[in-house]
C-alpha cells in the first residue's frame, strides 16, 4: 500500500536560474574564471589551444594534495525529501496527547518488543528503526534538534525545499544556495572537489558562484575514450571537448565545462587510491543514500579538499499507511540510520574532521489522516552527528499540547532552521568573519545555536 512520493527534486516552476544564461558575442570572463586565472596566471579564455588549461588543471591537481587542503573539515548534509514525520522519529515518552492524535501510528512502549528506544534523561524515545542512531546518541556523538523548521508557513514541498536550500524562507528571488555561500565564505580557491552533491543534478543548496560538482556516481566522471594528457601527443576526445566547451558563447555550458574537466583531472589524480587502499570494507545499505555516503567517505579519506557534501534520501512523504513499527516510515528510517551509521564507521580516524547534519522541508500533521498516514505539517526534527557535537540531548522547545499546536494541526516551530545551520557551519567549519551569518543567511539576524563544543 505504499504510496509515498519522493519529491526528490526542486520543482519545475517559475525559473530561478542561478547562473545567468544570457549569451554574449564573445565569451566573457566570469568572477570565478578570473580568480582561477589570477592565481595561476595561465588560464586563457577563448583561446582555442588546450595546453594552458591542462597546465592549470595540473596545478589544481597538485594543490589538492597539499597539507592545508588535506586537513580541511567537511560538513556532510542529508536532505530528507518529502518531509519526515519528526514525531514518528523522535517523540515524547508516554504522551497521552500524541496517542490520542494518532492511534494508528502509536508504537509499543519502551522495553516492549519493537517499542520505542528511550533516549535517556530526555523524556523522548526514538523510533526502533533508528536504533543505530540511538547508539550514537547514547555515546554522546549525536544530538537531536526538535520542533525545528521554517518560519514560512508553506506546506508546499517544493517551496519549502527551496526555502531551506536557499536559506531564505519566503523569498523566492535568492539565486544561490546556503551551502554555496558557506563555501564562498571559507574562500578556499583551487580545489575542484570543495563542494559536492552525490545527486544526478545540482541541488539548490549548491547553486551559486562557487564551483560545485554534482554526480550520482564517481565512475561517471571521465570521458569515455579519454586517453589522458597531452604528454602522449595524441589528440583525444577529452581535449576536443575541452576546447569546445572553453570557447562556447553559452556561459552556463562554458562554466560547467571548465568545472567538469577540472574535476575529471582531480579525480584521476587520486584514482589509484580510491580504487585501491581506500576502498571501504564497511557494508552500506544498497540504497541511493548508502551509495552516496559511501562515495563521500571515499573522497574524505582521499583528502581531496572536500568541504561541503550533499546527499539526499527520498520517500518521506508518508500520506498513506505510514505504519508504526513497520511500514513506509520504518523502511525509510532504517535506511537513513543504517547509511549514517555505516558512514560513521567507515570514516574511522577521519571522524574528527567531519560533522553530519540532516534536514527535511517540514514536518507532518500531528493527527493521522484518513489513510493511515499524515499530511503536510510544520515543525520536524533533525540530527547532528560529530565528535564535538553536544550529543545525547534533544535540543529545542517542544510541545504537542493541543493549545500549542500550529494552526491547530501541526508541531509548532520553535527553532529556526537557520540557527542550526549557521551554528553548525560556524562551529564545525569555522566560517570566518564577523558578518558571516548574514552573508550565509541574508536578511536574518537570529542567533546561531551552539551545538558543538568549541
Amino acid at each position: 500500500m505504499s504510496s509515498h512520493h519522493d519529491h526528490s527534486h526542486p520543482a519545475t516552476r517559475p525559473a530561478t536560474a542561478t547562473r545567468p544564461t544570457t549569451e554574449s558575442s564573445a565569451p566573457s570572463p566570469t568572477r570565478r574564471a578570473l580568480l582561477k586565472a589570477g592565481g595561476l596566471g595561465l588560464f586563457s579564455l577563448g583561446l582555442a589551444g588546450s595546453s594552458p588549461a591542462f597546465l592549470s588543471r595540473a596545478a589544481w591537481a597538485a594543490k589538492s594534495g597539499d597539507a592545508a587542503t588535506s586537513q580541511r573539515k567537511t560538513l556532510v548534509t542529508i536532505f530528507q525529501r518529502g518531509a519526515m514525520d519528526g514525531l514518528a522519529a523522535v517523540q515524547p515518552l508516554r504522551s497521552q496527547t500524541l496517542e490520542g492524535f494518532r492511534p494508528g501510528l502509536t508504537l509499543p512502549g519502551v522495553g516492549k518488543d519493537g517499542g520505542l528506544i528511550e533516549l535517556k534523561g530526555t523524556g523522548f524515545g526514538m523510533h526502533p528503526a533508528l536504533s543505530p542512531l540511538s547508539r550514537l546518541f547514547q555515546e554522546g556523538q549525536l544530538g537531536v534538534v526538535h520542533a525545528v523548521g521554517s518560519p514560512d508557513p508553506t506546506r508546499s514541498h517544493f517551496d519549502a525545499q527551496d526555502y531551506m536550500e536557499t536559506g531564505t524562507p519566503g523569498d523566492k528571488g535568492t539565486r544561490s544556495g546556503w551551502l554555496n555561500r558557506v563555501a564562498g565564505e571559507l574562500g578556499h580557491e583551487g580545489t575542484p572537489f570543495r563542494s559536492l552533491a552525490m545527486t544526478g543534478s545540482l541541488p539548490k543548496s549548491l547553486y551559486g558562484p562557487e564551483p560545485a560538482v554534482a554526480v550520482s556516481r564517481l565512475e561517471h566522471l571521465r570521458v569515455s575514450d579519454n586517453r589522458g594528457l597531452p604528454s602522449g601527443g595524441l589528440p583525444s576526445s577529452g581535449q576536443g571537448f575541452e576546447s569546445l566547451y572553453q570557447q562556447t558563447s553559452q556561459e552556463l555550458l562554458r562554466e560547467a565545462g571548465q568545472d567538469t574537466f577540472a574535476v575529471v583531472e582531480a579525480l584521476a589524480s587520486v584514482q589509484q587510491q580510491v580504487t585501491g587502499e581506500l576502498r571501504s570494507s564497511v557494508t552500506y545499505p544498497r540504497s541511493v543514500l548508502g551509495s552516496a555516503l559511501r562515495q563521500i567517505a571515499l573522497l574524505i579519506k582521499a583528502q581531496v579538499g572536500l568541504e561541503v557534501a550533499f546527499a539526499e534520501s527520498g520517500g518521506w512523504d508518508t500520506h498513506v499507511q505510514q505504519g508504526s513499527g513497520n511500514g513506509t516510515f520504518a523502511n525509510r528510517a532504517r535506511d537513513l540510520a543504517e547509511s549514517i551509521s555505516a558512514f560513521w564507521t567507515d570514516l574511522g580516524p577521519f571522524r574528527d574532521r567531519v560533522a553530519l547534519m540532516t534536514m527535511t522541508e517540514f514536518g507532518r500533521t500531528v493527527r493521522q489522516n484518513g489513510s493511515g498516514g499524515t499530511d503536510h505539517g510544520h515543525g520536524s526534527c533533525l540530527f547532528v552527528l560529530g565528535e564535538k557535537v553536544r550529543g545525547g540531548k534533544v535540543h529545542g522547545d517542544f510541545s504537542v499540547d493541543s493549545s500549542d499546536l500550529y494552526e491547530d494541526r501541526d508541531l509548532a516551530v520553535t527553532t529556526d532552521f537557520r540557527s542550526v545551520f549557521s551554528g553548525v557551519a560556524r562551529d564545525h567549519l569555522q566560517v570566518p568573519g564577523k558578518g558571516s551569518r548574514t552573508e550565509i543567511f541574508p536578511g536574518w539576524n537570529g542567533k546561531p545555536m551552539r551545538l558543538l563544543r568549541t
Binding site: 504510496s3 512520493h5 519522493d6 519529491h7 527534486h9 526542486p10 520543482a11 519545475t12 516552476r13 525559473a15 536560474a17 542561478t18 547562473r19 544564461t21 582555442a48 589551444g49 506546506r155 508546499s156 517544493f158 544526478g200 543534478s201 545540482l202 547553486y207 560538482v213 554534482a214 554526480v215 561517471h220 566522471l221 570521458v223 569515455s224 575514450d225 589528440p235 583525444s236 576526445s237 576536443g240 571537448f241 576546447s243 569546445l244 566547451y245 572553453q246 553559452q250 552556463l252 555550458l253 562554458r254 560547467a256 567538469t260 540504497s287 541511493v288 551509495s291 520517500g315 512523504d317 500520506h319 523502511n331 535506511d335 489522516n369 484518513g370 489513510s371 493511515g372 503536510h376 494552526e407
Partner: protein, 708 residues
C-alpha cells in the same frame, strides 16, 4: 469549438445515469464531452488508420496558406533559419532534409498542420505495429497484465491458508523457487508481466518522438505528461499508466485545458498516484448517499426494497446500508487537492490557502478508482444490488473511475470564495475543476510553463501575459496559445537559447543521424544515465524545464560520452554515415567537420565549433582507408543483426520494475543496473580516433548541439 449539434450526439452516447443528477447543465455537458471523447479516443487507438484518414488535409492546403504572421525576419532570421528554429522547438530536432522540406511546404502551413495533427504518418505505423498493448481497452489491459509481486503475494497467502487448514506443507518452496514458479504460471496462463506494459508505453513514446510526422503533438505529449506527472514506480498507479497517457493525456494535448484536467483528475492512475482514491469523508459529516436517502422519493429507497424482501424494517432505520468507510479509513487525504492547485492549475502563488486545500479535498472526496475485480466493486454490488438505486444515491461509474457517494462529504463547502451547496455529489468536484481551469492564475501558470518550454527559461512577463490572455479568451485552448506564441517576436529571438533536455538530446541525435531504432530500450539506458529516466520522475512536479537543472559537472560528461557512444552505432540504433553524405566521404578532418556539422546542426554557424576542434584534432587528411572501414562497419552492423535478438529482450532501464517490486518496493534506484552500464574503453589507434565516427561524436557532444 464544439458545436451544439456535436454535443447532442455525444449526449446520446452517454447513458441515462448522469441525468439523475440534478445540477447545473454546464459541467454535465463538460463531463459528457469528456466521456464521449474518451470513447472516441479508444476507437481511434484501436485503428491507426484513423490518423491517416483524419489528415491529408495539409497537402491539399499546400504552400503559403499564409494565415500566420511569423515575424522571424524582424529577429534577423532567414526563412531557412526560421524553419530550423521551428524544428528545434515544435519538433524534436531536424532530420536531414527537414529544413528544406519545410521551406518548400511553407512555414505557416507546416505550423497549422502541426496544430491540427494532420500530417499523414509514414514511418511510424510500422515502427509501433508490434506494440499490441496500445490497442487494448483499459479493462483489457487490467485483465491481461499481471504484477508478479502481487501474484506472488496472493500465492503466498493461499499457501499460508492451506497450511493453516492443516493442509500438506509438502510444497514448501524457498522464495526463489516460488518466484520462478509464479513467473512460469503467469506465462502459462497466457497473461503477461506488467513490466511489458511499461516497456511498450516507453517504446511508444520513443518511437513516436522520433518518427512521428506530427511532432508538435509529441512535444506536447511529453510536456503535458510531465505537467501531470506520475511516477511509474508507484505500483498502484502503474497498471493504469499506459491508458493514462493514451486516453487522458494524448487526446487533449492540443485541445482544451479543462477537458485535459478532468481527464487526468478522473483517471485511475492519478487517483491512485496522488492518493485521492483513499480520501474519504471525515467522520461525523453527512455523505451524498445519506443525504439522498433522507430526501428522496420512497420508491427508490433501498430500505424499502429490503424491507419488502427481508421484512420487519421500519422507517426509522432508513440509512444507507453500511457503506461508510471503516473507521480506520475515514478521513480526508489532502495530497491530490494540494498538488491539483499547486502543480496542475493555479501554481503555488496562485492565491489559495490551506483552508482551500481542505475544501477541495472535501469536494473531491469519493473520487476513486474501481478495479474490475477489486473488493470495492464486490462490496458495492453486494450491498446495493440495484444499479438504479446506486444511480439514485449518486454513485457514478465510468471506465475505472468511480464516484463513491458513500465516501463523499455532502455538506456545504467554500472553495476560493465560491460556495458549493450541501447535498450534492460528483458535481462538487466537477465544479471545482471547472473553477480551477478557468481561474486567471491557471491561465498565467500554464502559459508560463508553455512559454518556458517553447521560448525561454525566463520568458518575459509581456509574453506570458499575452499568452494568458489568449488562454482565457480561447477557453483554455493550447493550440490557440501556441498560435499566439509563434507569432511573437520573442519566440524568434530566442533561437539557440534553450538547452536541450536529455530527451531532446537523445531524440534530436537519432533524428539528425536518420537512425533506425530497433530496440528503444537502448535509448532508455542513455536517458537514465543522462539524468532523465522517462516515466520515473519521483515527484508530481515532473522533470524541470530549465537549463540550470540539466547543465552541471557530471551531466555534461554524460552528454559528451553519449555523443561519442551513439556515433559508434549499435546493432539496435543503426545509421550509415556514408549514406548521410551520399557516399562521398570527406578527405580531411576539416572537411569532415564542415560536412557533418551542416547535416547535424542545419542553419547554425559552425565556425566556432570547427575552429575549436581543429587544433586539438590537427587538420590532416583522413586516412585513405576510411571509406573502406566505414563500409566494413556497415557490413559489421548487418552481421550483428543476429545479435540483436539478444539485445531486444534486454530492457534494463524500463523492464526491471518487477525486480524493483520484489527487491523491496522502496523505489530506490537500482544501483546494480547502473553498474552494469557499459563504458566505451579506449581502443584503436589515432587513425581510428580521427575517424568520421569520432568527429560525429564530438559534434553531437559539442556545446552547439546541446542548444536548441
Amino acid at each position: 469549438m464544439i458545436s451544439v449539434g456535436v454535443i447532442s450526439v455525444w449526449e446520446m452516447m452517454v447513458d441515462e445515469e448522469l441525468r439523475e443528477l440534478k445540477s447545473s447543465a454546464t459541467h454535465l455537458v463538460q463531463w459528457k464531452r469528456q466521456v464521449g471523447r474518451s470513447l472516441v479516443t479508444l476507437v481511434a487507438a484501436l485503428s491507426f488508420s484513423a490518423m491517416a484518414a483524419h489528415g491529408s488535409r495539409v497537402s491539399e492546403l499546400g504552400k503559403d496558406q499564409g494565415m500566420l504572421q511569423l515575424p522571424y525576419a524582424l529577429a534577423g532570421l532567414t526563412e531557412h533559419q526560421a524553419a530550423a528554429h521551428l524544428l528545434d522547438r515544435f519538433a524534436f530536432g531536424a532530420r536531414p532534409g527537414d529544413v528544406e522540406a519545410m521551406v518548400d511546404f511553407g512555414l505557416s502551413a507546416w505550423i497549422e498542420g502541426q496544430l491540427e495533427q494532420s500530417f499523414v504518418e509514414k514511418e511510424l505505423p510500422k515502427r509501433i505495429a508490434t506494440l499490441d498493448a496500445l490497442k487494448l481497452s483499459p479493462a483489457e489491459l487490467e485483465e491481461e497484465f499481471v504484477n508478479p509481486a502481487d501474484y506472488l503475494r496472493m500465492k503466498r497467502r493461499e499457501a499460508r491458508m492451506q497450511a493453516d487448514e492443516g493442509g500438506a506443507r509438502s510444497d514448501s518452496q524457498n522464495p526463489d523457487q516460488m518466484r520462478r514458479a509464479a513467473l512460469a504460471e503467469i506465462e502459462q496462463s497466457g497473461k503477461r508481466l506488467e513490466s511489458v506494459l511499461i516497456d511498450q508505453l516507453f517504446a511508444n513514446k520513443m518511437l513516436r518522438g522520433i518518427y512521428s510526422e506530427n511532432q508538435l503533438a509529441e512535444v506536447l505529449a511529453d510536456f503535458w505528461f510531465n505537467h501531470f506527472n506520475i511516477d511509474a514506480r508507484e505500483k498502484e498507479a502503474r497498471p493504469f499508466l499506459l491508458s493514462y497517457e493514451r486516453d487522458a493525456i494524448r487526446p487533449h494535448v492540443l485541445g482544451n485545458f479543462s477537458e485535459l484536467l478532468l481527464a487526468t483528475a478522473s483517471h485511475p492512475a492519478m487517483l491512485m498516484y496522488l492518493d485521492n482514491a483513499r480520501s474519504a469523508v471525515e467522520p461525523g459529516r453527512e455523505t451524498t448517499a445519506e443525504f439522498k436517502m433522507r430526501g428522496g422519493p420512497d420508491s427508490l429507497r433501498p430500505e424499502r426494497r429490503r424491507s419488502r424482501l427481508g421484512g420487519g424494517r421500519t422507517a426509522s432505520t432508513r440509512r444507507v446500508p453500511n457503506l461508510r468507510p471503516a473507521t480506520s479509513a475515514a478521513g480526508l487525504n489532502e495530497n491530490y487537492a494540494r498538488e491539483l492547485m499547486e502543480l496542475h492549475t493555479l501554481g503555488v502563488d496562485g492565491g489559495y490557502t490551506q483552508a482551500d486545500v481542505v475544501e477541495v479535498a472535501r469536494a473531491l472526496s469519493g473520487w476513486m478508482a474501481l478495479r474490475q475485480d477489486g473488493p470495492m466493486r464486490e462490496r458495492l454490488e453486494r450491498r446495493i444490488a440495484s444499479e438504479q438505486v446506486r444511480h439514485y444515491l449518486g454513485f457514478v461509474e465510468r471506465e475505472g473511475f468511480f464516484f463513491n457517494a458513500a465516501f463523499h462529504d455532502a455538506e456545504k463547502k467554500s472553495v476560493l470564495g465560491h460556495d458549493l451547496p450541501a447535498g450534492r455529489g460528483i458535481e462538487d468536484g466537477l465544479d471545482v475543476l471547472e473553477l480551477l481551469a478557468a481561474h486567471p492564475s491557471t491561465a498565467r501558470f500554464v502559459s508560463f510553463k508553455l512559454a518556458q518550454r517553447f521560448v525561454a527559461d525566463e520568458p518575459s512577463d509581456a509574453l506570458v501575459s499575452q499568452l494568458a490572455q489568449e488562454f482565457t479568451s480561447s477557453g483554455g485552448s493550447t493550440a490557440s496559445v501556441l498560435r499566439s506564441l509563434v507569432q511573437s517576436g520573442e519566440f524568434w529571438r530566442s533561437r539557440r537559447q534553450k538547452i536541450k533536455s536529455p530527451v531532446d538530446l537523445v531524440f534530436s541525435s537519432v533524428r539528425a543521424l536518420d537512425a533506425s531504432v530497433r530496440n528503444p530500450a537502448r535509448l532508455g539506458r542513455w536517458l537514465q544515465k543522462l539524468g532523465q529516466p522517462v516515466y520515473r520522475y519521483p515527484a508530481p512536479t515532473g522533470f524541470p524545464e530549465t537549463a540550470d537543472h540539466w547543465v552541471n559537472t557530471g551531466g555534461l560528461l554524460n552528454r559528451m560520452n553519449f555523443g561519442l557512444e551513439i556515433a559508434q552505432g549499435t546493432p539496435t540504433v543503426r545509421f550509415s554515415l556514408l549514406a548521410l553524405v551520399d557516399g562521398r566521404e570527406p578527405e580531411s578532418v576539416e572537411e569532415g567537420l564542415r560536412v557533418f556539422a551542416k547535416i547535424l546542426m542545419p542553419q547554425r554557424d559552425h565556425e566556432a565549433t570547427i575552429q575549436a576542434l581543429l587544433p586539438a584534432l590537427g587538420n590532416r587528411d583522413l586516412p585513405e582507408r576510411l571509406g573502406r572501414r566505414l563500409q566494413m562497419a556497415d557490413q559489421r552492423a548487418e552481421s550483428e543483426d543476429e545479435q540483436m535478438s539478444a539485445e531486444t529482450t534486454d530492457s534494463i532501464a524500463y523492464g526491471d520494475f518487477e525486480m524493483a517490486a520484489t527487491v523491496g518496493d522502496d523505489g530506490e534506484e537500482s544501483v546494480a543496473a547502473m553498474a552494469r552500464e557499459p563504458m566505451i574503453v579506449a581502443q584503436g589507434s589515432f587513425e581510428e580516433s580521427a575517424s568520421l565516427e569520432h568527429l560525429v561524436g564530438l559534434l553531437l557532444g559539442s556545446p552547439e548541439f546541446q542548444r536548441r
